[in-house]
């Protein structure tokens, strides 16, 4: 129910022609309409500025920009492949770690936990969501990375070293560290959105399962989770969208090396990190244009992923409409 005044029908035509809409109403509606349009204005603005900034390299490299691994400011050869690889791999690692944890937590919070515990835990999860990226990066580089380098990575290398992803020298700063820190950042968002989704499942579904004698877990599995599949997918993709754009925390722990390596212990570089590191110093026009183009690639990827997530979430909400509209 969007238009709250839909229940108020406009006056019959005869009277309507005598009574014009007051100026205040007209003006206010236009004012708020323009404000709402700001959303589209901003989207267009972002797209336009990025596209304009990257015209040079768009023309010079074309599609090669996306397939080349050469990032050479001296010879002015720029290729975005290592960054796309880095963004993709670090995000996938983050999802692998965060998704099971988040969904389990969401299930715990909505179905299985007592009320007092629910509210306290939710508060803490919201607080984790509020931790700025730079503080997480600070903790990451001073606390998490040395601990990983000294205790976790060597054990991984020992036990799983036959896999190529766990071979090679251990520096601490690495693709894996980047993935872990992104996981920590996206845990809250996947958890809260999943919780909202699980809560919006109609009580009837649960009651039916209980009536058949199911245990709490079975109710959750049968009645709730399968019903909420689409929404949970949306939550996961929303988390992915957030993971793709993470900048500060990742820059501080990923090693900043534009190279595609097999090992997760090797340093990597993401689209957002290279922009953060090199934007203020790109001395040549081509260099700056290449960075704008990286921004454009990043924008394209995040917009597509976020739009997909929102569509999934809205598809979930559609048939339910349990909110008091």
């Amino acid at each position: 129910m969007n238009n709250a005044l839909a229940t108020v029908k406009p006056a019959p035509r005869a009277i309507a022609s005598l009574v014009r809409r007051p100026f205040g109403d007209e003006a206010f509606e236009w004012l708020t309409f323009l404000a709402a349009l700001a959303v589209f204005v901003l989207i267009l603005l972002i797209g336009y500025e990025l596209a304009q900034g990257s015209l040079l390299t768009l023309r010079k490299f074309g599609w090669r920009f996306l397939t080349s691994s050469d990032w050479d400011p001296v010879n002015e050869q720029f290729g975005a492949l290592p960054f796309m690889f880095g963004t993709l791999v670090s995000s996938v690692i983050a999802l692998v770690i965060a998704v099971p944890l988040s969904i389990a937590t969401a299930v715990f919070l909505t179905e299985l936990a007592p009320r007092w515990l629910q509210q306290t835990l939710s508060l803490f999860i919201e607080l984790l969501a509020a931790v700025p990226s730079v503080i997480l990066g600070l903790w990451g580089i001073f606390v998490m990375v040395p601990w990983l380098a000294d205790h976790v990575f060597p054990k991984l290398k020992q036990s799983l070293g036959f896999l190529p992803i766990f071979q090679g020298p251990i520096y601490g700063v690495s693709m894996l560290a980047g993935g872990i820190i992104i996981a920590i950042m996206i845990l809250p968002i996947i958890t809260s959105v999943s919780r909202e989704i699980l809560r919006s499942v109609p009580g009837l579904q649960r009651e039916a399962a209980y009536a058949l004698g199911a245990t709490r877990w079975e109710v959750t599995r049968i009645a709730v989770l399968s019903y909420a599949k689409k929404g949970i997918c949306g939550a996961v993709i929303l988390g992915l969208g957030r993971a793709l754009g993470e900048t500060m925390a990742v820059t501080m722990v990923i090693g900043n090396r534009p190279e595609i390596a097999k090992s997760l212990f090797a340093p990597g570089y993401t689209l957002a990190s290279v922009v953060a590191n090199e934007f203020t110093e790109a001395t040549t026009d081509t260099y700056l244009s290449a960075l704008f183009e990286i921004g454009l690639v990043l924008l394209g990827v995040t917009v597509v992923v976020n739009a997909l997530a929102q569509l999934l979430l809205k598809a979930m909400e559609g048939p339910l409409a349990t909110r008091q509209h």
Binding site: I43, V131, F142, G245, A307
Partner: protein, 283 residues
Amino acid sequence: MNTAYHRWRKLKNMLVQVLTCVCALLVILPLGLIFYHLVKSGLGSVNMAFFTQLPKPVGEAGGGMANAIVGTGELLGLAALIGVPVGALGGIFLSEYGASRLNWWIRLGADVLNGVPSIIWGMVVYALVVMPMHGFSAWAGGIVLGMMMVPLIMRTTEEVLLLVPHGYREAALALGIAQWRTIVQIVVRTALKGIITGILLALARVAGETAPLLFTAFGNRFWNHRLSDPIAALPLQVFNYAISPYEDWHRQAWAGALVLLLFIAIINAGVRILTRDRFLQRT
């Protein structure tokens, strides 16, 4: 009936409860670790000097982040000037006016904007404001944070306004009050607390942003006297100190991080606790 199968089902139920509880605790573990470390490393440096003094040159002990703290305040003020009117009015449009189809698109757009990485906002405002102005400035910093706030405030305002019962609107209109007056003086007034909550949450969210400020506010070792000059900001200063090689600056970085986190946490926890079970249905 207490067959083996039943016992197995009950066991599964208990295992899952334990497992998910463990997962929930794991999820908040990083928060605890971070907070512990911030307090351990930073609390010692949070003293009067930290809040009142300017940064000292490299190698000299002491100094503080007074300009960064005030700078963040100024940037948030500027951001609110842009973000609050546009966001709130837009939210009003989404809840009170508009057609179903159009509003669906606007909502989708706002949600997508919420997902745009902050560094891209920074690049855009650099091209839009910093380059034509030939300088980094508090304006640019405020503009980028304000733009980031618009979709956030729009959505929260809309959600809160939708919760106001229709009866209020109908009663006011029945009394002959103009529509715009109904909205402003009755609907918005009723939902005011929720709207302010949304604004505070958006402020807390952008208060911690660093990446966009790298290319806009630039940072300042001194007080900012003109909005067209560069300005220091707490997350920016924390970042610069953190990657420095000086022990004293590291300690100050931790202190700054602690202050920043406490500021954001207090706003978040505060608004949630104050408005629980009132207008926002979330816990």
